[in-house]
Point group: D2
Chain length 315, copies 4
Amino acid sequence: MALDGTRLKDALEAIAAEMATVEERGKPADYIPELARVSAGHFALCVATEDGRLFSCGDADTAFSIQSVSKVFTLTLALGLAGDALWKRVGREPSGSAFNSIVQLEYEHGRPRNPFINAGAIAVTDIILGNHQPREALGEILRFLRALSGDDTISIDEAVALSEKQTGYRNFALANYMRAYGIITHPVDLVLGVYFHHCAIAMTAQQLAQAGSFLAFGGRDPLSGFRVVSPDRARRINALMLTCGHYDGSGEFAYRVGLPAKSGVGGGILCIVPGVASIAAWSPGLNDVGNSRLGTLALERLAKTMDWNIFGIRS
Amino acid sequence: MALDGTRLKDALEAIAAEMATVEERGKPADYIPELARVSAGHFALCVATEDGRLFSCGDADTAFSIQSVSKVFTLTLALGLAGDALWKRVGREPSGSAFNSIVQLEYEHGRPRNPFINAGAIAVTDIILGNHQPREALGEILRFLRALSGDDTISIDEAVALSEKQTGYRNFALANYMRAYGIITHPVDLVLGVYFHHCAIAMTAQQLAQAGSFLAFGGRDPLSGFRVVSPDRARRINALMLTCGHYDGSGEFAYRVGLPAKSGVGGGILCIVPGVASIAAWSPGLNDVGNSRLGTLALERLAKTMDWNIFGIRS
Amino acid sequence: MALDGTRLKDALEAIAAEMATVEERGKPADYIPELARVSAGHFALCVATEDGRLFSCGDADTAFSIQSVSKVFTLTLALGLAGDALWKRVGREPSGSAFNSIVQLEYEHGRPRNPFINAGAIAVTDIILGNHQPREALGEILRFLRALSGDDTISIDEAVALSEKQTGYRNFALANYMRAYGIITHPVDLVLGVYFHHCAIAMTAQQLAQAGSFLAFGGRDPLSGFRVVSPDRARRINALMLTCGHYDGSGEFAYRVGLPAKSGVGGGILCIVPGVASIAAWSPGLNDVGNSRLGTLALERLAKTMDWNIFGIRS
Amino acid sequence: MALDGTRLKDALEAIAAEMATVEERGKPADYIPELARVSAGHFALCVATEDGRLFSCGDADTAFSIQSVSKVFTLTLALGLAGDALWKRVGREPSGSAFNSIVQLEYEHGRPRNPFINAGAIAVTDIILGNHQPREALGEILRFLRALSGDDTISIDEAVALSEKQTGYRNFALANYMRAYGIITHPVDLVLGVYFHHCAIAMTAQQLAQAGSFLAFGGRDPLSGFRVVSPDRARRINALMLTCGHYDGSGEFAYRVGLPAKSGVGGGILCIVPGVASIAAWSPGLNDVGNSRLGTLALERLAKTMDWNIFGIRS
C-alpha cells in the first residue's frame, strides 16, 4: 500500500479538530497521583512511515507515561533472549474475561494467559532480568527504546515508578502467586522493581511511533535498516497485539479499528499498519476497560479515512 | 496481492503429500456416533480465488459436517436481519478461558461473549428465527449457503441433527440459561432445533471455500458480483473470526497462521486471505482444544509458502 | 433439655408481638406471580414437642408454599431408597459462593455440592423417580409428608407448580447440565416435573413443625413412635441442614441462631432443636440471600430466650 | 452430659490400638521441610474435661506445629480487641470451593469468606497487630496460649516460621491482594511475619486440649474459672469451627463426626464437645483436602463411642 502524504496530513488535521470538540474524554487513571494529575485535554497522534517521515498532530512532542505499551518492547527483548522457550511460562491466548487475571492464574496453575496482561508482562520481565542486576536489566530496556526511537533522552519518570511500587499491591499479589508456581524465578521485589520502572518510561508520541516502526516493516527498522527481529517474529508480535493488546477490549478494537495495537493506562496506544506505518496515539482519558478513549476513536477515524485495515479491502 | 497459480498448485500438492505421512492426526469428535464414524484419514484443502478458480487437493469433493463453521454464515444472515442491534445480545470479545462458557454466562448475566461460541451462536439463531417457523428459518439458512456456493444440492444430514438433539444437554443448558435472562426469546426447543440442523449441514471443501469468498473480497461474491455484505461488515466478520474463531485456541491460530478463520468440530476450517482467497480445510481429527489438527497444520504450511499473513510483510 | 411450656408460650407471644412491629419485612419472592402475591404481613411460628404438643403463634394454620424446605423430606426419602450410594451423585459440602451453582457444576463435573442447593435437590428427585412414573413418585413424596404431619389434606398448589415450570429456565439449565454428566438419568422434563411439584407443596407451620419432628427425636416420630430413619441418619441430615440449609447464608444462620434449619423462598424455615423440639417459622419477606427475614429473626429470638443452641451451654 | 471416665479410657485405648494398625496414614504436609520431616507414625488423642482431668493416649506430650489451629485463638483475641467490627473485614460463610480462596477474594472485593481460611486469618492477624510492633503482637498471642494451657513453656518453632516465610508466596499473594482493597492495613511483611510465627507455635495434644477448654464450657476456663469470652461468643466461635473449620472438608467433618473442630496442616485438630470436653487429636498424615487423616478417623470413633454429637440424641 502506497502512502498518500497529503491525504494523511489532511486526515490528521481533521481528526485533531474533531478531537478538540469531544466532551466525553474519559478519565485519566487515578490509582497513582502522577497519572491522575495529567490533563484529559491532551491529545496526540503521530504516524511514522517507511521513509522515516513523521506526520503529527496535537501534543506529539509531549512526553507521557507509556505504561503497558512498554510490554511490546519487553516482549521483543525477552524473545530475543529466551526464544520460544518464553512460551513455556506465558500463554498466547486472550485473557477474555472481565475479571482480573489472578483468577485465571489460579485456574491455570500460575501461568499467565499472554504477555500483555500484567501477570504475563511481569513474567517477561523476570526473563529479561536473567543473570543481571535490576539496574542492568532496566538499562538494557532503556537502551533498546532509545535505539529504536533514535533518541537518547528517553528516560524513566522516577516519581511514577515509586508511586507504582507504593500502591501496586495487586501486582505484588500476581508476582507472588506466580513465584509460588515457579513462573517467576527471581525475588519478587527485584522483578517488580524492573517492571514498575519500565512501565514508567516517558516518551512522546513521535518517539513511540518511531520506536514501533520495526513491527510495521517486517522486523527491520526502516531508518537504520537494522533488523530488530525476523519478519516472522514481527508478524507474531503483531498477532499478539491484535488478540491481546487491549485487555478485555481487544475484540472490540479489532472489530472497530482492525489493526494490531497495544494500549497503556497512561493513555498511549501503539498501533501498527503492516507494511505501511507505525502510529502512536495519546490521550489520557480512559474508557471503561482502561484504554484511551480519544486514542481509540482517533485511530478508528484514521484507519477508516486512510483505508488501513488488515481484515480486508474496500472492494 | 497477485496470486501465482503454479506456486499454489505446487504448494497444495506438497501439503497433501506431507499430510498423508502425518501419523498423529488427532481424534474425530466422539460425542455423537455420526461424527465419530468419520475416518481420521480424510484430508482436503481447497482455495477459491477471485477469478472463480478452485485449487484443490485431497478429498475436496467429499461432504463433511460443517458444524460451527456454519456460525459464520448465520452471523452474516442475522446481521442482515438485525443490524448492530444484534450486539445488544451478544458480545465481541474472545471467551478466553479453558472453561466452558456457561461460567461466563453466569458472570455476565446471560450474555454470551461472542457469536462463535455455542451460546453466542444459539443467540444468533434466535434472531434468525424471528417471526418464522423453524422450518422457514432453516430454509433461509440453507438457501443462503446454496446461493453462496452456487450449488443447490447442499443439504442437512438429518442423522447428525437428530443425534445432536438427543445428546446436546449442554446446549440445552446454555439455551435455557440465556432464556432465563431474556437473551433467547423463542422456546428453547425451537431455537435449538434450528441450531442443531444448521450445524448439521454437510458441504465439501470446494463448496465451503466458494461460500466464504465474499469475506475475502470486500463482501462481494466474486463470481456473481453480488454484494452479500458491505466491505466494512466483511472486515468485521473477519476480525471476529480472527479473535474468536477457534475457541480457546484463537490466539494460537492467529500467532501461527496469521489469518482469520473459523473451525468446526467436524474438522472443517474456513480461512480467509483478505483480497486474495477463501480457503477450506478439512480433516476430522481434532487437537486438544477441538480444532482440526491437520487442517490447522495445512493452513500454517500454505500460509507460509504463499506468504499469506495479515500481520506483516516478508520484508 | 426439659421443656418449660409456660416459658415457651410467653416467648412465642413476645416474639409475635415484636414481629408485628417490624417494618423492614423483606420482599416476597417475585419470580413467579403466585409467590409474589402473598402478603409480607404474614408471620407464623410453631413448636412441636416430644409429647406431641404444638405451641403456636401468628398464622400457624395458614398454608404456604414450602418450596426448598421440601428438600429435607425428599433427601430423607432418597436416602431410604439409595442409601449412601446417593452421595456418589451429590456432595456434602456448603456451596459457599455468592455465585449460582451452575459455575460449580462446571468446575466439578456436573456433581452438585450438596442436596439442598437446587442442582442437588434435582439430582435427589432423579433418584426418587427411579423406576416410577412422575405421578407415582410425586404420590410417594406426598404420602410421606401426610404421614409425618398426620394430615391427609396436604396437597400441591398446581398453579405454583405450573408457574415454576413456565419460568424455571435456570433449573432447566441445571438439569440439562447434570444430564450431560450423567448425574441426572431420567428425561429432564420428567425430573423437573416432579421437582417443581414437590416444591409447590403447601403446608401450614403446624403441619411443617410436626412433619420435621423425627429429625429432633433421633429419627423417630414422637407421636406414632414410628422410626422414620436411624438416629445416625437423623443426625447427619441435621448436620447437612446446618452447613448447607440456608444457601450462602448458612454460616450466618449457624452463627446467629445456632440450630440446624432449612429455608425456602416461600418464606418457610424448618428448624430442629435436637432432643427438644421441631420448629416451623414462616414469613414471606426474604432477605438478600433469599431466606425469610422475619423467620430468621424470630428463630434467633426464640433460640436465645429458650437457650436452644447446639454450640454450647450458657455456663 | 455426664462423663464416664472408665468408658472414655477404654475408648481411647481401643482407638490408639486401632490407629496403630492403620496403614494408609496419609502424607505429612510437604511444602516446608520442617513439616515434611515429621513421621506419619505419630498419633495422639487427648480429652480435657470440666474437672480438669486429661485423658490421653499416644504421643500426647510430643509437641507439634499447630499451624491453622492457632486461628481459633487469634480469632478469639481479635474479637476481644475489635468486637463485631471484625466482621466488616471478614465474612462468616464457608469458602465452599475446591479452588483456593484468591479467586473468591477477587469476586468479593478482597474480603475473605471466613476467619479460618488463610486470607481470613491474615486479616485477623492484621487486627491483632493494631498499634503494636510485630514482636509485641506475637508476645500477646503466645501469652494467651500459655495462660489457656497453663504452661509457660509453649513456644514458637523458629525454623518452621522461617521456612514458611521463605516459601509462603501464596500467602504473600493473598495479603497483597487484601492490602489492595484495604482489608489489610499494615505493611504486608509485618502482618505475615506475625502470621507465620503464630502458625509455627508448637504445642502438645495435652496443651492444646487444655487451651481449647473455654470453648467447651461456655467461654470459661474450667480450671481457673477465668472467663475468657462470653457464652454467646464461645458458641459462635464453635459455630464457625463447624461450618468453616476444615476448609472444603467442613461439611464432611460435620456429617461424619458432628462436632465443631479446627484442623491444621501440622496434623492437629482441636475438637469441642459443648458442655462436655475439649479434645485434641494429632497425626501428621493428611487426607486429600489437607486435614489429618487419622485425627479425623480417631475423632469419628471417639464421638461415636461416647455418643458425642451436637446434631441429635441416640433415641
